[in-house]
Amino acid sequence: MVDPTLESTTQPIIRVAGAVKRYGEGDAAIFALAGVDLTIYPGEYVAIMGPSGSGKSTLMNILGALDNMTKGKYFLDGIEIDSMDENALSIVRGRKIGFIFQSFNLIPRTTALANVELPLAYQGIKKDERRKRALKALDVVGLSERIDHEPTELSGGQQQRVAVARALATRPALLLADEPTGALDSKSTQDLLDLFDQINNAGRTVVVITHEDDVGSRAKRVVRMRDGLIISDTLNKGRVA
């Protein structure tokens, strides 16, 4: 269910229709997604929840253009993604989406600053501009003091914040986080969720996958999945202004 204040006033940032993801063939076929429809509008903060094997990670990988669907349509910011070739997809990943992973996925032996600059470099942004935007993103996540540290010299919480800075630096339309707190302690989890609030309050769309209720409770909209299907889609009353 979509926040009624947003619906139909703007173009949806995400529109997925009849998404099917099948692994294997014939009798051995397993449906990770069995026909999912989902629409998300700009400025929403959505948590996709479900037990493991419910298909939420598969959905996230498809939303992030990291994986392809067996069947279905996917429009991101009005652009049809499912029929794009690899080169066009790399541009979409770089410009439209900021991805945050459970295991951080920073480039090893590379400083925080260089990690944040990397997606900007792939977009061909000039060095000075890149440096400026990376420093600003690191400032937003509160890591201005640690820009020269390599991933191994940072705590889990700090690494995840570098990853958030990397995702923000490209000014994406959409921030996708796949179990972002899965590898963090409770203090870092709270810090990260506060950061997500701050990012969403600034107007950016945030989609979080999680199986933790306290993470889900911070979102404004909760989508629950089971066996490759959406079983509920509710607004989080306490969080919607």
Binding site: L66, D67, R93, G94, F99, P108, Y122, G124, T170
Partner: protein, 406 residues
């Protein structure tokens, strides 16, 4: 995404495992250097053979007696086999019958130890001959003078000696005008020859040359000559000179069957052809050995690129997830492979240049420029070719597959 940026990524990628990068570079460097040095050694040895043949004299044909031999051929020649004589040399000097022969020098070779007081020297070559020998054998005088036709006619015991013999007998003193004893016979030194150098198997400066008559009278006797050296008027008419020699010698030796002569002729052209074909076989063999080591270097690059790509598959996944285009990833790995092979090739070329300044098994290597181009070109091509396969495999992965790789 500009190319400089990708080059920077490539350098950073190489920098993350410095030992592996260094070892791969070393492998290529050794491959390239060995191609250059081994081909240079092969080339050097053929140059050396050529120059020692050049030193023997150009346009010259050497006639030797066909002694011995095996089986029926030797038996049928039997008693009719005649030694080479001064009469043969005189006959060959006939300008009417042999218009293409410039000059003729009969050579009698002796084996004798020469002494000057307590100093002794056994020259590798001790020739009794005519003055024409000097020009025909490309031997010139450094100090003093040649002996003359008059010396030959008079049988004067004078000698021209080579540099090695002079040093052995006189040290740093001038030998000119001094008397030496060879095989007990006194000879007066009237000249020394210019330094010829070693031809690998024989010291060209261990030499005594004296008038034919003097050597025959005192050391070898008048029976037979070692050889007759004939100089053609030019390299062009060498074939005519050869025919004239055969006609005159066949008549002199009453040869009935031209396939069974009791003498044989050696000319520089045939010596040259034989030796250069030998040394080109040598060069090819060395080249093959070197090419194998270059190939091993190339397999090293492939191996490293495969390991690197597998090891960094996850990193490739991350890069793709944050928007790296396929081309950028492919270029990064290709540039890494190219840097490896360029740097390795460069070090190899430098190593090859330095290495070929040293004598190797007595041979001064002479670099063949084409081998430098070949070796460095092949190393770069190997890098690109074998680097492109793992790189394109990695770049074509879907990001989610790459990210799941552990």
């Amino acid at each position: 995404m500009n190319i400089l940026e990708i080059v920077r990524f490539a350098f950073r990628g190489l920098g993350t495992n410095k030992l592996r990068t260094a070892l791969t570079t070393l492998g290529i460097a050794i491959g390239v250097a060995s191609v250059i040095i081994l081909i240079a050694v092969g080339n050097g040895s053929s140059k050396q053979i050529q120059s020692s043949i050049d030193r023997l004299g150009t346009n010259t044909i050497t006639i030797q007696a066909n002694r011995g031999g095996f089986g029926r051929q030797a038996a049928s020649r039997g008693a009719s086999s005649k030694p080479l004589t001064v009469a043969d040399a005189v006959a060959l000097s006939d300008p009417i019958k042999a218009p293409d022969i410039k000059q003729v020098a009969p050579v009698a070779s002796a084996t004798a130890t020469c002494t000057n007081g307590s100093n002794t020297s056994t020259p590798g070559t001790f020739n009794g001959t005519w003055p024409a020998w000097f020009e025909a054998s490309n031997t010139s005088i450094a100090k003093g003078s040649y002996f003359t036709n008059d010396d030959v006619v008079q049988g004067r015991r004078v000698a021209v000696i080579g540099n090695t013999t002079a040093t052995d007998l006189f040290g740093t003193q001038s030998p000119i005008g001094q008397e030496i004893r060879c095989g007990g016979i006194p000879f007066t030194v009237i000249g020394t020859t210019t330094v010829k150098g070693s031809s690998g198997f024989q010291d060209g400066d261990s030499l005594v040359v004296a008038p034919l008559t003097a050597v025959q009278r005192s050391l070898t006797g008048y029976n037979s000559l070692q050889s007759i050296v004939v100089e053609a008027k030019s390299a062009k008419v060498q074939d005519f000179a050869q025919t004239e020699i055969n006609t005159i010698m066949d008549a002199q030796h009453k040869v009935k069957n031209t396939s069974n002569r009791d003498y044989r002729t050696l000319n520089q052209a045939s010596l040259l052809a034989t030796s250069s074909s030998n040394s080109s076989v040598f060069t090819v063999l060395l080249g093959v050995v070197a090419a194998i080591s270059l190939l091993v270097g190339g397999i090293g690059i492939t191996n490293i690129m495969l390991v690197t790509v597998v090891e960094r598959t996850r990193e490739i996944g991350i890069r793709k997830a944050i928007g790296a285009p396929k081309g950028a990833i492919l270029s990064q790995f290709l540039i890494e492979a190219t840097i490896l092979s360029l740097v390795g090739g460069g070090i190899g070329v430098i190593g090859g240049y330095i290495g070929s300044h040293f004598k190797i098994i007595g041979i001064q290597p002479v670099i063949v420029p084409a081998s430098v181009l070949l070796a460095s070109g092949v190393s770069v091509l190997i890098g690109l070719f074998f680097g492109s396969y793992p790189a394109s495999r990695a770049a074509s992965l879907r990001p989610i597959e790459a990210l799941r790789h552990e």
